[in-house]
């Protein structure tokens, strides 16, 4: 008998492949990477939502209504996949679905997805600079997923595949605060 971890991975791979095929059909492969990450963060961030969606005695129609209410802006293929996951009690596979989908999407797009957070929107020149720099470094194309985060105060934060390059003003100030508070 397969262990639950192996089961989860197998199921997650199926969900991710189906989602990718649907996204390719509607040409929304890249858009879905961002929406999937947001969906995962929302589910992780709310215990009530997780409890409601994973409660076996809760009516399926009510669960679908919750999903439709909260994630109404998301792509229909993502919502459909998510509804099936909830219906079949596979909510625990969501992080792994994200992981597989990312890998499959990057392969399909032939590029690495790079999250870029700044305080003000990137201008075209800076965008091109980042793409050129990282394309040459990674030897593959780069697709930027841009976020605006006023908490950074200034600078830029780049993240991809669990690695994060932090050149923000806020983290440098935090670093300075720590050094000064610990210094003798």
């Amino acid at each position: 008998m397969k262990t639950s971890a192996v089961n989860i991975r197998a199921k997650a791979e199926v969900y991710a492949r189906v989602l990718l095929e649907a996204a390719q059909a509607s040409d929304r492969v890249f858009v879905l990477t961002g929406e999937l990450a947001e969906l995962l963060a929302t589910v992780r961030g709310s215990l009530e939502l997780r409890s409601a969606l994973s409660e076996a005695t809760f009516p399926e129609q009510a669960k679908k209504a919750i999903i439709a209410e909260i994630f109404s802006d998301y792509a229909p293929e993502l919502l459909a996949t998510f509804e099936v996951m909830v219906e079949r009690g596979d909510l625990a596979t969501l992080p792994r679905v994200c992981e597989f989908y990312y890998a499959l999407a990057e392969e399909a797009l032939g590029a690495i997805i790079l999250d870029v957070s700044t305080v003000v929107p990137l201008d075209e020149e800076l965008r091109q600079q980042i793409i050129t720099k990282y394309s040459s470094q990674l030897g593959r194309g780069v697709l930027l997923r841009e976020y605006i985060d006023p908490d950074l105060i200034g600078g830029i934060v780049l993240a991809s595949h669990g690695k994060r390059i932090d050149a923000s003003v806020s983290s440098q100030l935090e670093n300075a605060r720590q050094v000064l508070s610990l210094s003798q």
Binding site: G45, G162, R164, Q172, N175, A176
Partner: protein, 521 residues
Amino acid sequence: MAEITADNIDAVLRRQLDAINTSVESREVGTVIQIGDGIARIDGLKGAMAGELLEFLGEGNELVYGLAQNLEEDEVGAVLLGDITTIKENDQVRTTGHIVEVPSGRDFLGRVVNPLGEPVDGKGPIHAEGSRPVEFRAPGVVERQGVNEPVQMGILAIDSMIPIGRGQRELIIGDRQTGKTAIAIDTIINSKGKDLICIYVAIGQKASTVADVVETLERFGAMEYTIVVCASAADSAPLQYIAPMSGVAMGEFFIYNGADGEPASETNPGRHVLCVYDDLSKQAVAYRQMSLTLRRPPGREAYPGDVFYLHSRLLERAIKLSDKNGAGSLTALPIIETQAGDISAYIPTNVISITDGQIFLQSDLFFQGQRPAVNVGISVSRVGGDAQIKAMRQVAGSLRLDLAAYRELQAFSQFGSDLDKATQDQLNRGARMTELLKQGRYVPMPVEEQVVAIFAGNQGFLDSLPLASVLRFREELLQFLRASHADILEAIATEKKLTDVIIEQLKAHIAGFKEQFSVEE
């Protein structure tokens, strides 16, 4: 903290500003997926190392540190060392690239700190000279040498029959309220002026008990060479788990560095350190809690499978360094609390097998008035004999066997009263020697006085005394020698052996004192 004055403000500012790292930092990040019971499960961090220090970015960007424990395929299980209430799901976690370290240095002497090295005695910040890793691989065979110097605990029953050497690991084991901590505290008090730095690690104890210990050490002037590491019962399980390792890490600073703070070498001798872990049963319980909440499989008594390794790697850090490495030493005195004298429970058997001997304390002896309540029959020191001074070996060499024979005879004699003279004499001597070994709390005895006391017993000077007068005889004899014949005590202390001349003088002095000793008080 260095005082900032108009003269040094420029230098202080420059130093602090230089320390600020304005470069871009590249870290691995993960996300908290579950938090509770002081444990966090983190998605991501695929490159995290076992035991690596993690930074949790909590509410209001507050940093809370954690310790990576379980490295699984998809997630990392970590224990939190700080305020867990500021951390919630979806919070960011970063790797730091280094394992947990504690600050250390000479300024820690006289201070009470928590297992992270932060002061908890309200005496202000401590200037650290460096930091030492909490998990440190013990040096190998080449860097060590055999135990050859005594610790001198100041307790007659122990120094005579269960001698402990510098660099040894000696377990103190017994039920609750049998005087385990008292032995450790007496040892610390007796270490005054003996170039021995003491570290007392309190694990899972009441804060009031630790305050009592600190107050006692202060009263006897022992805090000036002591560091108290305190993880009280109110502290989280991870803090209680790392407390002994933090204590030994602070101690290692002294053995690997000379008195000047520079690295120890042949020309710059390392210091001698005594580490008391009070107690390892509570550390094992904290580790069990952590392991169960991390969902590690429980083994015997629900302890995880690696609890033996937890204690063995800690106690392996007790060491006597070779002369080339500065000849410093770290002596470990772990304490284990048994339940109803059961030494066959999991943790006691583990620690007994790891250590170089044990001092076994028994409740019944304690309540019979035999204090310290050391059962000399089953207490043993496997390596300390080499570290005993010759004078002590001369007088106490056969004491252990004599007392064993006495106990056997005593049990036998209960069946009948018709005993021959030789047996009666042996019983008489045994009873007096047992009485002689009684000692109060906080009255450690220098080794030369211990030698004299046992010598008096061996030579039969106590045989004619009533049992009730033995202790008074010992005290008054020592007072008499200190006052009138201090030279003989000094001769024993310096020559470290009983020469024929000293023996003759001692016999004469003791006989002389006995003549004037009044049995009735």
